[in-house]
């Protein structure tokens, strides 16, 4: 597989604060690579270093197999960026904004016209081409922000938290769009602190905490990194301590919680966890109502690796 981006040992300090601490990631061609981490973990800083916008203290960054630098115009021409903050000109209309940013990459007028049209279709802003950004709702503004970043059909695209403060409808539209871009052959780096999004969208993921990648791999690989692999909940009334003890003694079970009506069991990887538990309960003569088995989320992965949850900010 072709490695599009390789970051090794990246260190970035803001005076006292170490924003990136020997961060390494590698991204393959044609995948959506998720950078998942809580606010302030260094996602934007990482992207800005890769784009040669920020000076950094140590490390190497290679894009398309070549050293990235501020003057690497050849590389820059194949990169697109959708920044975290909406970055468009208020005094230009939607069409003019997209055309302007396209013009930074594409000289030919006819080609530009075609690309701008395509970008407008892509983000479904056709009804708003003559609007000034100020008149657009938050979600539409975000879509304009995206259009300006992808209009020149870059091979490598960075999305920095494109769904923050976006209504659910626009959010789905955006996530679908990113999938389409990948299907058309672009490689995408997607940052977010919403694990559901990353789980749903990304092919591979790096989890970031305090400027460091604490885990990298596919969702499967990440789940396998932690011992908890299954969360089973069973609704059953009046379980006795002796029965609970039997469940607890099962080989894969490492945590158990019972509140009088629902039994929650966390178990490590094993094929028959649910069946084993159900057997024990039925043998003891209990009638069971609902049974769930869930896979651990990225939040569980993050929790287990860092000891804190992703959700609280």
């Amino acid at each position: 597989m072709n490695e599009i981006l390789k970051v090794e040992g990246l260190v970035k300090r803001y005076k006292e604060l170490i924003a990136l601490d020997h961060l390494s990631i590698s991204v393959n061609e044609g995948e959506i690579f998720g950078l998942l981490g809580p606010n302030g973990s260094g996602k934007s800083t990482c992207i800005n270093c890769i784009l040669s916008l920020l000076e950094y203290d140590k490390g190497s960054i290679r894009v398309f197999g070549k050293e990235m630098s501020p003057k690497a115009y050849e590389l820059k021409s194949q990169i697109g960026i959708v920044p975290q903050e909406v970055a468009v000109y208020d005094s230009l209309t939607v069409y003019e904004n997209i055309d302007f940013f396209c013009g930074l990459y594409i000289r030919d007028k006819e080609e530009r016209k075609k690309l701008v049209r395509e970008a407008i279709d892509f983000v479904a802003l056709n009804d708003f081409v003559k609007f000034r950004p100020k008149k657009l709702s938050g979600g539409l503004k975000r879509r304009l922000n995206i259009a300006c970043g992808i209009v020149h059909k870059p091979k490598l695209i960075f999305f920095d938290e494109p769904t923050v403060a976006v209504d659910p409808q626009s959010r789905n539209r955006i996530l679908e769009g990113i999938g389409e871009l990948r299907d058309k052959g672009a490689t995408i780096i997607y940052t977010s602190h919403y694990m559901e999004e990353v789980e749903q969208l990304c092919d591979r993921i790096a989890i970031l905490d305090k400027g460091n990648t604490i885990a990298e791999g596919t969702i499967e690989e990440l789940r396998n990194m932690i011992k908890k692999s299954e969360i089973i909940s069973i609704e059953a009334g009046g379980l006795e301590e002796a029965v609970l003890e039997k469940v607890r003694e099962l080989k894969n079970v490492y945590s158990l919680d019972y509140d009088g009506s629902t039994l929650k069991v966390e178990a490590g990887s094993g094929r028959h966890n649910v069946i084993d538990i159900v057997n024990i309960l039925q043998e003891a003569g209990y009638s069971l109502r609902k049974i769930f088995s869930e896979q651990p989320t990225l939040n569980d992965v993050f929790l287990e690796l860092t000891g804190k949850t992703l959700r609280d900010e």
């Binding site: 803001y14 800005n48 784009l51 040669s52 916008l53 920020l54 000076e55 501020p70 003057k71 115009y73 050849e74 820059k76 021409s77 990169i79 960026i81 920044p83 903050e85 909406v86 970055a87 468009v88 000109y89 005094s91 230009l92 003019e96 055309d99 302007f100 940013f101 013009g103 930074l104 990459y105 300006c148 970043g149």
Partner: protein, 386 residues
């Protein structure tokens, strides 16, 4: 691409207001104010005036005579429409009731002037002038009388001396740093300069357009494959052209509508306008780079600088540069608005080569320094922080 740089500037309402509309508004206001004074000679309606004589002294009697002569309907110029009152209190009631605009109270040896709250500008100026000149002349007269008893010839020559001194002082003070340069043209010039100087705001905006740590749009430019050099040139010219157009409009309005003299050397005037506009934009670029924060913060701080500079240059108080020249001339020498004002004033009024070029050299030198520094800093693409 250049088209969009230009569009952005032309659509910036804030900029157009401050550097184009605002100076025009001020010019119109000044025309209403001063135009009025200039016309007073030819046509003023007599001012409704009350005269109260509180004493039978020579001073009071003489003043009453004077005012009456100016209120004579048969006179060539009737200044006052006079009525008399018995007491100052009664007269003040008349002012309050708006039955009169102006009240003179002539006492034993002093003169008081009162104006109603709805008095006209003309009445204010006329009453002040009449009272002042009467006081001065009366002193002169009594001096003559008193001295005449002793040494007539000597006294007369002394008075003549005084008068000629006063006269030569007036002549001298016609210089630009006098307490009152020709206010009519001065206010127009400094308003023009203010408009030009406000182009600094687009200079600040230029920094935000091109410096990735100030705006996301600039960040997009930085990650694009285009070189920064070309963008800087585009962004600069896209600001220079509108600024020159606006200055042209201002000059045309001054010349054609307000009949302000602009000197007889259009070429030098054009050179002056070009230099000043370039200087102003360069000045704004430096302000944009020096001040910290987002665009709005940088703009606000720059506005403060501009206001201070324009104020010190005498936009509101034309005597201010004269006062500064006596106490701290260095401020005049480095205050951009004053330097521009001076270059223009001397160009238009005196055609004084040395002064004109002296100020122009300052402007050009500063512009070059500003633009070189600005270009060097703006060309950088990588920052310590964003």
């Amino acid at each position: 691409m250049f088209r969009y740089f230009l569009l952005k500037v032309l659509r910036s309402r804030n900029y157009l207001f401050w550097s184009m509309v605002f100076p025009l508004v001020i010019m119109f206001c000044m025309n209403m104010a001063f135009g009025n004074i200039y016309d007073t000679e030819n046509s003023i309606d007599p001012i409704r005036t009350v005269l109260v004589k509180e004493s039978g002294s020579f001073f009071a009697e003489q003043f009453a005579e004077l005012v009456k002569s100016m209120a004579d309907e048969g006179a060539e110029r009737q200044l006052f429409d006079l009525s008399e009152a018995d007491s100052a209190e009664q007269a003040k009631e008349m002012l309050l009731a708006h039955e009169a605009m102006l009240l003179f109270v002539a006492g034993e040896d002093e003169l008081e002037v009162f104006l109603s709250d709805d008095h006209s500008m003309t009445s204010g100026i006329v009453s002040g002038t009449v009272a002042d000149s009467y006081r001065t002349n009366f002193r002169l007269m009594t001096d003559v009388y008193e001295n005449a008893e002793r040494l007539p010839e000597e006294a007369v020559s002394e008075i003549m001396d005084n008068m000629s001194k006063e006269l030569s002082y007036t002549m001298q003070s016609k210089g630009i740093f006098s307490d009152s340069p020709n206010p009519y043209v001065w206010y127009f010039y400094s308003t023009l300069v203010m408009g030009m100087f406000f182009n600094a705001m687009t200079g600040v905006n230029l920094v935000s357009d091109l410096k990735a740590d100030v705006s996301g749009e600039a960040m997009r430019l930085s990650v694009s494959p285009g070189g920064k050099g070309k963008m800087i040139v585009y962004a600069f010219i896209a600001r220079l052209i509108p600024s020159l157009l606006i200055s042209g409009i201002h000059l045309a309005v001054m010349k054609l509508v307000f009949k302000v003299p602009l000197g007889d050397d259009p070429l030098r005037l054009a050179a002056f306008v070009l230099c000043s506009d370039i200087f102003a934009i360069g000045f704004g670029v430096i302000c944009g780079l020096v001040f910290k924060g987002n665009l709005v913060a940088r703009e606000n701080k720059t506005t403060g600088m501009l206001m201070a500079s324009v104020f010190l240059s005498g936009e509101m108080i034309s005597q201010l540069p004269g006062i500064i020249e006596r106490s701290a001339p260095i401020i005049n020498d480095i205050n951009p608005a004053t330097v521009m004002n001076m270059a223009l004033y001397r160009l238009a009024m005196y055609n004084n080569d040395y002064d004109f070029y002296g100020n122009m050299i300052k402007l050009v030198a500063a512009s070059v320094v500003f633009l070189v520094i600005g270009t060097v800093i703006l060309r950088r693409e990588r920052y310590a922080s964003l």
